[in-house]
Symmetry: C2
């Protein structure tokens, strides 16, 4: 049963185990530094479907099914799945998992979804509401560009501050008992909005939320950055990461520079792959977590990782209406045992 | 700490209390049969804002603030808010509550959102993850028409099977201890999709999900329809309600006709107010719950109500791509004490 530590952090005494996981990527993701670590790479990013949205759903389903298989779990034995995505009305999720027959608590957290879903699934298993829960999410570059920016065919230019939506999905299976990396604590974030209005600079919009959540977590748990192998943000990119480090230093007198890394800067070779400020999208942190971080926690190479998923909670309509961009960041403490 | 009963139902031994609530409506809702029961009616459905989306956010914020006030709770003392809406990227939620500083677990459940958020909030309070949680949602006729169907100015005709998106918001405050109606059990639904493709007939698309959730709940809890004062669906409207009763009778041999009511048929005088098959939208069941049902549970007039929120998990894009409509239904058992 979760125990509140400080004002915002929940520690999970049973430390639920992540017993299986899977990461799926597209061609570009396969060509990145983590390409070899994915469970499966679709060389054809249509995934055999006739629309980008259906391709996104196919990736989602594939990730969940592979995660279940790696955990030796049947879909019918899962008590709850927490999942969401960036598409309007979360159709990358609802169509992706509709055939699995798993009770669905649909989430919306933009690019913070993997941390939110993992946090919810872990709280539910620790609190007795689920014996087995799944956390999953997905994004697709082509469906995201079409929906949030320009149709690909338009060939619009992207400013250097823009991030690249990952074509990727990640899923993790969480159980009350079992072998695997543990979820030891969760912090649900509060919206922070410092008035950034440039939807081509999401990193800047999300950095204050990451700052708030990390500072709250360290304060609540009475720990310091050097107590962690990794404080892994996802996905602030290069601009947001620099701003986060600066904000934490100036506002909170906390220096995370030696332990911080960002999923958006890990998924791609940022310069060679022309992704400007780095990767983003729900699938980015989900895939980096599931292909790169969880295996290293399982092996003991990493022992204590604070995953901080960040999301920009705007829409094209809110941007057109001259609104600023509310940011949010959810944190999950992952330990090797 | 929640206890699983049967395959899908969670009973909540501490029976968290709903200690405050509020319902906000627009002019049309104020003219309906429940008009007098709302906490506040906006005669001007712009709520003083210059866009429909901002009006929706304003309604959301108002509902949450009134619910907190009625519970004697400060926003800063809330541990988590569960909330979502129908707008793309849930901006009715994120912009609505961004100034409140409450940890946000964003949800997407379409018109089932109030049942999902109430269920999540109750599980979290029962399981120790939150001392105080808020469940809330909102919808706005004008923003929904603009986004899902036609701009109002177009003056499009609606078929008789169509439902009318409520301009309404509802919010409830849930505490581990306190006075008020109780949340005694929760069932998270599984997607059901029987192939309905007519997005002007959401009731038909959602009825199978309601059927599945109600049948599961009655089976899990070993109860019969007559054990409830009310099995309250939201929002199937007239067509979906008739289909639900028929489906449960034929497939499960369960007759709920004497205890079933539907929020979409309660919010409006369906014929006089020209809402065709009834009301819908996240705010419909939220408002009916908060203005009509919770007060009657508090007074003891109602003793045992199974709220079954139903959602159609499609988008305009999935409809254009000739996809069918996945339905979902989440259930929450509310008791007077």
């Amino acid at each position: 049963m979760p125990v509140r530590q400080g004002r915002y952090t929940l520690t999970l005494p049973s430390r639920p185990a992540i017993t299986g996981w899977a990461a799926i990527g597209g061609k570009k993701e396969g060509q990145g530094p983590l390409g070899e670590e994915f469970d499966y790479i679709y060389e054809d990013t249509t995934a055999g479907e006739n629309t980008w949205e259906k391709a996104e759903s196919a990736l989602h389903k594939d990730a969940v099914e592979r995660a279940l298989a790696s955990s030796g779990t049947k879909a019918g034995d899962v008590d709850m799945i927490f999942s969401g995505d960036l598409l309007n009305q979360c159709i990358g999720t609802t169509f992706g998992i509709r055939e699995l027959g798993i009770p669905l608590a649909g989430l919306y957290g933009a690019c913070s979804t993997m941390a939110l879903s993992l946090g919810m699934a872990a709280i539910m298993t620790d609190g007795g509401a689920a014996g087995t829960a799944v956390a999953a999410t997905v994004s697709h570059f082509c469906s995201a560009e079409k929906q949030f920016r320009m149709p690909l065919e338009y060939g619009g230019q992207r400013p250097p501050t823009a991030q690249w939506t990952a074509t990727a999905a990640g899923a993790a299976v969480i159980k009350q008992k079992g072998e695997g990396p543990r979820v030891s604590a969760v912090i649900i974030g509060r919206i922070q909005d410092l008035g950034i209005k440039d939807s081509n600079n999401m990193g800047a919009a999300m950095a204050p939320a990451a700052c708030s959540t990390i500072a709250d977590f360290l304060r609540d748990t009475n720990t310091r950055p050097q107590d962690y192998d990794l404080i892994l943000t996802g996905d602030l990119g290069s601009i947001g990461s620099a701003l986060l480090i600066e904000l934490l230093q100036k506002q909170e007198n906390i220096d995370i520079s030696s332990v911080q890394a960002d999923c958006g800067l890990m998924l791609y070779d940022v310069e060679k792959q022309d992704v400007h400020a780095g990767g983003s999208g729900c699938g980015c942190s989900a895939a980096v977590l599931c292909c790169h971080v969880l295996p290293r926690l399982a092996s003991g190479e990493l022992k204590k990782v604070l995953l901080v998923g960040t999301g920009a909670l705007m829409s094209p309509v809110s941007t057109m209406q001259n609104e600023s961009i509310p940011g949010i960041a959810h944190g999950v403490l992952l330990t090797s045992k």
